[in-house]
């Protein structure tokens, strides 16, 4: 499995070159990659459906116990087939949709990289591996939504999707780590086996909430759904693939994957099923106000994702069966409808359904396919959507919730779905022909192959529900954590469920007939529901930016002396605090006696420093600094350091020469600060000086450690062949330090040279 995923990534990397080499056929060529992989999965499907899952492990970071663990059970296989199958069609579609676009090579790169990441997500058996792929899908989704990066709307939408799903992903990561700690394993399969222990764990609820944050943001559940309609800024192939069929289902996948480990509790059912049901209704309701084809489909996708979440929240066998069946049905019809919508946009130049009509005569093939897909969406027999809806109604009639709530909500949302299905198919293709920006005609093969394949598959699965039955049963088994078998059938007999279906269709048809006034009425009624979360997101983003700018202005104001002031005060406080509050020794003043000339020299040094501070003449200050330097050199000489004394005198002399050479070109001292701030600085400096004095005295309290000195003294002659211990330390014992020091010196000198000699050419402003 690893090699399959890596092959997709390699193909992604090669895509731009392939596209350059075969610009016309690149879509067809690249589609071979996912097609071959999908074929291979299909070939092995029988083996997986009937038997144990495929397991594959490679070492990754052995020291941390991380491994590249892949596992393909029914659930993984179902998703892998959807991803590779629809992916193949999308690549072909993209080749035709963006034909002639110079950026197509890059588009393939992003699209295939996403495909690889998504495959990795559904096949990984390790929580850390899953997180890596999860984030990769977020990143590739960001790149694809912002593909038209020259438009601000696309950039904003891309960032919004990344922030929402990325933050959710981080929360999820924390939750997954908690889960791994609780269960003592990073493997999903083993976590599923330890479900009972996990559900009784005190950290169960925090872990669940964190993981749900990831799943809900990724799968656009209310109130995080707003990024998905925004993501419609992406080119249509992306919307069809990522934002309806695959990526947004990652959250649903995670719920299904973890439901054996975490599902079935009151918290799970309460949160997941309720959020799902609310999203189902809100999505359908807001969709009814839309007139843009893609936004219509986007909100109906939100609604469908809500439905899936809802069913997984209930988590009983019937609900999970309905969920898996609906997942496939939705992927087929929504992918087809998105592509059809893209085709309409491509051929007419508009996506506004109120400005479209009567296209069927011009585009009969695309129209047929769109109608077929929409029929599946509406739940018309004999399409696969009908089978799914029947199961959904049966699950609703048999749920843990009161009958009137579950069936009522199911009916209400489904009526909306029927209406939306008619809005995206009947409205543009039938009725009076309306003139469009471009004169429409039938789309080329690449553009209708994708919708046609998916729509026909919807029909085939509807007529022969036994086809996908085994695979679905296997996926249900994985999501339930216990063996399950069920029979899919188109005809369930004359029963209350069928009556509900018929009533839904009738109500949906009525609503569609009244769509004009309905849109206006809903737009007025649902205002805050449709834009509320977006506003909240925008407000948060603005506040965050304001905070960042404010604190930057506060801390990075650019005034050097204030930086130093903050530094000094902080250091003073940090040192003074322990001295004042943890003072636990008696200070003995060390005294080796003072000889008169020593005292005089010390006084001279202090006076020099004082003059350097007080004088207004630069020459005076330089001389005073010289006095300090030479005075210190003399102290070195007095206290047994002739090497230091010589070095200090020479360096001091050279420093004076440098200062005198340069000061000639510099202005005199100016008084820039006010008396009040000078007073403040004086007080602060004196306090700091006093503190240093205190510190020096404290260091004198402890006996001087003699071990090192003894070592150097003993070994200087035998090991270093020299009697001057200081020099032996410099060139032998600690030669590496000296090496570093002369290197630094060299760099400083070259810096000076560069500053002085290498002026920017052209003069004027540097």
């Amino acid at each position: 499995m690893l090699w399959g995923i890596l092959a997709i990534f390699v193909l992604a990397a090669l895509a731009p070159w392939l596209h350059r080499a075969f610009p016309r056929a690149s879509g067809w060529l690249l589609a071979l990659g996912p097609a071959a992989l999908g074929g291979q999965y299909l070939f092995r499907a029988g083996e997986i459906v009937g038997g144990p899952p495929l397991v594959e492990t490679h070492p990754w970071v052995p020291a941390l116990g991380l491994e590249l663990a892949f596992r393909m059970d029914g659930l993984g296989l179902l998703f892998a087939l959807l991803i590779t199958g629809i992916g193949t069609l999308i690549v072909v579609y993209a080749g035709a949709y963006l034909a002639g676009d110079t950026r197509l090579g890059r588009f393939y790169l992003f699209l295939l990289a996403f495909l690889g990441a998504m495959l990795g997500l559904v096949l990984s058996d390790n929580i850390f591996l899953l997180f890596v792929f999860w984030e990769l899908t977020s990143v590739t989704s960001y790149l694809l939504i912002g593909f038209d990066h020259e438009r601000e709307a696309a950039r904003d939408a891309a960032l919004q999707a990344l922030l929402v799903t990325g933050l959710g992903g981080l929360a999820m990561f924390a939750g997954l780590i908690l889960l791994g700690q609780m269960g003592g394993t990073a493997s999903f399969a083993e976590l599923a086996a330890r479900g009972a222990m996990l559900k009784a764990h005190p950290l169960y609820l925090p872990a669940l909430l964190l993981i749900l944050a990831g799943a809900f943001t990724k799968s656009a559940q209310f109130p995080f759904h707003f990024w998905l309609p925004g993501a419609m800024e992406a080119p249509t192939p992306v919307s069809a693939f990522l934002h309806s069929a695959t990526m947004v289902k990652a959250g649903v996948y995670l719920l299904a994957r973890l439901s054996p480990a975490l599902g079935g509790t009151e918290a799970w059912t309460g949160i997941v099923a309720t959020t799902g049901a609310v999203t189902f209704l809100v999505g359908g309701f807001v969709a009814l106000q839309q007139s843009d084809l893609k936004r219509l489909l986007a909100y109906s996708t939100v609604s469908a994702l809500g439905l899936l979440t809802w069913l997984l929240g209930w988590g009983n066998p019937l609900a999970v069966q309905a969920g898996m069946t609906f997942l496939v049905a939705h992927a087929l019809y929504k992918g087809a409808l998105f592509m059809a919508a893209g085709t309409v946009d491509h051929e007419t130049g508009t996506r506004d359904v109120t400005r479209l009509g009567g296209l069927f005569g011009k585009m009969p093939l695309s129209g047929t396919m769109a109608l077929l897909a929409a029929a599946s969406m509406a739940g018309l027999a004999p399409l696969f959507g009908f089978v799914a809806k029947e199961l959904f109604y049966e699950a609703a009639r048999d749920s843990v919730w009161p009958l009137w709530i579950s069936v009522g909500a199911a009916m209400l949302g489904s009526v909306g779905t029927v209406t939306v299905a008619m809005m995206v198919s009947v409205e543009p293709f039938f009725g009076r022909y309306v003139a469009t920006p471009k004169a429409p005609h039938e789309a080329p093969l690449g553009l209708w192959l994708g919708p046609a394949s998916l729509a026909l598959l919807s029909l085939a699965f509807g007529l022969l529900p036994g086809g996908p039955q085994g695979l679905l049963a296997s996926a249900v088994t994985a999501a339930l954590g216990e063996p399950s078998s069920f029979k899919l059938a188109l005809w369930h007999g004359l029963n209350p469920t069928l009556a509900l279906s018929l009533a839904t269709l009738a109500a949906g048809g009525l609503l569609y007939a009244a769509r004009g006034p309905l849109r206006r009425a809903f737009a007025a009624a649902a205002g805050p529901l449709s834009y509320g979360p977006t506003r909240a997101y925008e407000w948060t983003l603005q506040a965050l930016k304001g905070l960042a700018a404010g604190q930057t202005r506060l801390l990075q104001h650019g005034y050097l002396n204030y930086y130093l002031l903050v530094f000094l005060v902080a250091i003073l406080a940090m040192i003074a605090w322990p001295l004042l509050f943890h003072w636990d020794f008696h200070l003995r003043l060390p005294n080796s006696g003072i000889r008169v000339y020593e005292g005089l020299w010390a006084a001279l040094i202090a006076c020099g420093a004082g003059v350097a501070v007080a004088t207004n003449s630069r020459m005076f200050a330089v001389v005073a600094l010289g006095v300090v330097g030479y005075g210190i050199a003399f102290l070195y000489l007095l206290f047994g350091a002739p090497d230091l004394a010589m070095t200090q005198i020479l360096v001091e002399t050279l420093m004076l020469i440098v200062l005198l050479l340069g000061l000639y070109h510099l202005p005199g001292f100016a008084k820039y600060s006010r008396p009040a701030s000078r007073l403040r600085d004086v007080l602060l400096s004196v306090a700091a000086g006093a503190l240093v004095t205190l510190l020096v005295l404290i260091t004198q309290q402890n006996p001087h450690p003699a071990r090192l000195v003894e070592y150097f003294s003993k070994n200087s002659v035998p090991l270093g062949q020299g009697r001057n211990i200081v020099n032996v330390i410099l060139v032998d014992f600690r030669a590496l330090d000296t090496m570093g020091e002369i290197t630094v010196l060299g760099i400083a000198a070259l810096g000076v040279y560069a500053l002085l000699k290498l002026r920017l050419k052209g003069g004027g402003e540097p």
């Binding site: 050279l654 060139v731 090496m739 290197t743 010196l745 000198a749 070259l750």
Partner: protein, 137 residues
């Protein structure tokens, strides 16, 4: 600064200071002195000369760019560090040889001496580069 006295002094002082610097360098391992101090003294001599006769004169006397001494010094120091590794000893191991000069006594040579020479050249180069750079402004 074209003082006659300075010119006369500098002409005498330069060789004296160079001699002194070599003396400081050679005795540095046993008595106060060493590469740092010696390098500073040598640089001081050349700077004095440059003050008296101008930087151009000093450069022609020196023959090499001041910067080159930094490179030479660092290379020498690095060579002294790498030398022992050729003999399979750790980096920076001090290696010594004694050469008997008959009646003159013994001469001790070792990689620390080469290292000190590197320090000498580097310090000399650094000081000259900085001061000469400023003098040419």
């Amino acid at each position: 600064m074209k003082s006659l006295i300075l010119r006369a002094t500098a002409r005498f002082l330069l060789p004296l200071m160079l001699l002194f610097s070599v003396f400081l360098f050679l005795r540095g391992h046993n008595e106060p002195g060493g590469g740092f101090v010696a390098g500073l003294v040598a640089a001081g001599g050349y700077i004095l000369f440059a003050m008296a006769y101008g930087v151009g004169e000093m450069r022609s006397l020196l023959g090499l760019e001041p910067r080159s001494f930094i490179a030479l010094g660092l290379t020498g120091a690095l060579a002294s560090a790498l030398w022992p590794t050729l003999a399979g000893k750790p980096f920076f191991t001090g290696l010594w040889v004694q050469i008997s000069l008959g009646p003159l006594g013994k001469l001790k040579l070792g990689t620390p001496l080469l290292f000190d020479l590197g320090v000498y050249a580097a310090v000399f180069g650094v000081m000259l580069t900085i001061v000469v750079g400023l003098m040419e402004e």
